[in-house]
């Protein structure tokens, strides 16, 4: 064996540094893997799960919530209903911009308390204009302010949803009753859907949601308001855990002016059908062809 040369020494130093850097770079992966159970890694796509496998996942998630947040919750997954296709309409003439809907959403859907997150954003805009880009969302004066109108924006549950089309892993899809859902355990957090949505309706969990134990809503749905993990995208589901059990969405119940109308668009006697058939209805960004299930309307 030849005597060690400067070249060999450099090689050794380089290899050590390289290996060190590699190990350091791989650290987050190792930590991430520690958080992830084997069941989670090996599970199938939501649509391929048998009822037993799904039940197993729900019980595991309940146990994990208990461990992380110290709260007993019930996570269910109620399937869609035949002959039901959800629609939502909002009376722009009635809305006063009080943000009570956003608050109700915040509480119902177990949003992060620190960021005041909500699936609803209320835009304050000049009367006579309809430029969303010029709308403000953090107004803090008494409402309704003279010369302004208010437009709450949330997921429009588009029938031709751009967010669904861009998802590279099929973590988001449209359910039979028209609701676009996200499987938070399948989402890889690429945020393509957030960028694709013309209504800014999707939110990204930069951190694990912080919610005091006594404020957690224990009535949870797998595809709706269960507490989302860090690094995944979330969105309004028209309160699927409520509406699939026949209840009205939380934002509608909270509205003090009765500006919101929700119901089954396949039922000809429903309130939503009456609004769509008799009122002047406006579809936000209709020109994009997204075919929303959320409509704005005006009295007279």
């Amino acid at each position: 064996m030849s005597a060690p040369t400067r070249r060999v020494a450099l090689k050794v130093v380089g290899a050590t540094l390289g290996a060190g850097a590699f190990a350091y770079a791989g650290q987050p992966v190792a930590q991430w893997a520690a958080d992830l159970s084997l069941d989670e890694v090996l599970r199938k796509h939501y649509k391929e799960l048998s009822p037993e496998e799904l039940a197993q996942i729900l019980r595991r998630l309940e146990a994990e919530t208990k461990e992380t947040y110290g709260v007993e919750v019930r996570i269910e997954d109620t399937p869609a209903q035949e002959g039901v296709s959800f629609g939502y309409a909002l009376n722009l003439r009635a809305c006063i911009g009080c943000r009570k809907c956003a608050e109700a959403c915040h509480q119902e859907n177990n949003h992060d308390r620190r960021t005041n997150n909500s699936y609803i954003r209320v835009l304050e805009m000049e009367q006579g204009s309809f430029d969303m880009e010029r709308g403000t969302v953090d107004y803090d004066h008494a409402v309704p302010a003279p010369g302004k109108f208010y437009m709450p924006v949330q997921c429009h549950q588009c029938d031709d949803a751009p967010c669904v089309k861009v998802c590279p892993v099929e973590a988001t899809w449209k359910e039979k009753d028209g609701i676009v859902v996200v499987d938070y355990d399948w989402c890889i957090g690429c945020r393509y859907c957030e960028a694709a949505c013309p209504y800014h309706a999707r939110r990204f969990n930069w951190q694990r949601p912080e919610i005091p134990a006594d404020e957690i809503n224990p009535d949870q749905g797998y595809l709706s308001n269960r507490i989302r993990p860090q690094g995944v995208v979330e969105k309004c589901t028209f309160c699927l855990h409520r509406t699939r059990r026949g209840l009205l969405p939380a934002c509608l119940e909270a509205c003090p002016t009765g500006a919101r109308v929700f119901g089954n668009m396949l039922d000809p006697d429903s309130e939503i059908r009456w609004v769509l058939e008799h009122k002047r209805v406006y579809v936000l960004k209709e020109e994009l062809g997204t075919r929303p299930r959320f409509f704005y309307f005006f009295d007279e």
């Binding site: 956003a102 409402v143 026949g246 509205c255 009765g258």
Partner: protein, 217 residues
């Protein structure tokens, strides 16, 4: 190496061919079974459609129709209200004032801003539990909606079709009922215009601040 393989392959060619055929057929069967089990998007079975509406639709009874706010709060911070009958069983006014300015003893400072109506347009002298309709007949105070309907046609139409006034409960009346707001839940009958209120829950998430909304994009 290749020579050895070729030599070995030649004598057993027929046999191998047979096994490979069996293998192939097994593989095909397995892949068909796999495809069938995955089934791509095999949707979960839908629940049956909603049945006939059986849920009750009730109208909420606002406190305002049977009591008045005193402006005081009890030690727990709850507003103290006094039932109308507390005073009106003992005192029976003999005539109604024509304007709120004449209220010198009770209901002082009552603000009135409801078109050109006067007290007697709705109230009945000597009977604080009833309201007077335009045709002179009276209705119970709790049915004040009947009174509102006389003038507010478009609102009545919208209310009857569920597009005016808030509600709680079920959209699907085959599952359960719902409670609808009374006109007076939201509108003060003496001053029915919606009063300005401070908004709640200011958004604090990234990218929503005012300078960004108004700034250059």
């Amino acid at each position: 190496m290749s020579k050895v393989r070729a030599n070995r392959a030649l004598p057993g060619w027929r046999g191998r061919c047979k096994t490979s055929r069996v293998l192939m057929s097994r593989l095909a069967a397995m892949s068909i079974a796999l495809l069938a089990s995955c089934g791509g998007d095999s949707p979960r079975p839908l629940r049956p459609p909603p049945g006939p509406p059986v849920g009750r639709v009730e109208i909420h009874q606002p406190e305002r129709l049977t009591s008045v706010a005193t402006g005081d709060t009890d030690p727990l911070g709850r507003p103290v209200r006094v039932a109308c009958v507390t005073c009106h069983t003992l005192r029976t006014p003999t005539q109604l004032p024509s304007t709120t300015a004449e209220l010198d003893e009770f209901h002082q400072g009552l603000e009135f801003d409801h078109c050109a109506l006067s007290c007697g347009s709705c109230h009945v002298v000597g009977d604080q539990r009833s309201l007077r309709r335009a045709d002179g007949t009276t209705v119970d105070m709790r049915d004040a909606i009947v009174l509102c309907r006389q003038c507010h046609g478009p609102q009545t139409r919208d209310y009857d079709h569920g597009s005016h006034g808030g509600m709680t409960g079920h959209w699907d009346l085959s599952v359960g009922g719902r409670v609808r707001n009374h006109c007076v839940d939201c509108h003060d009958p003496h001053s029915p215009a919606f009063q300005p209120t401070l908004p709640v829950l200011p958004p604090r998430d990234h990218g929503l601040t005012r300078h960004r909304s108004n700034g250059d994009h």
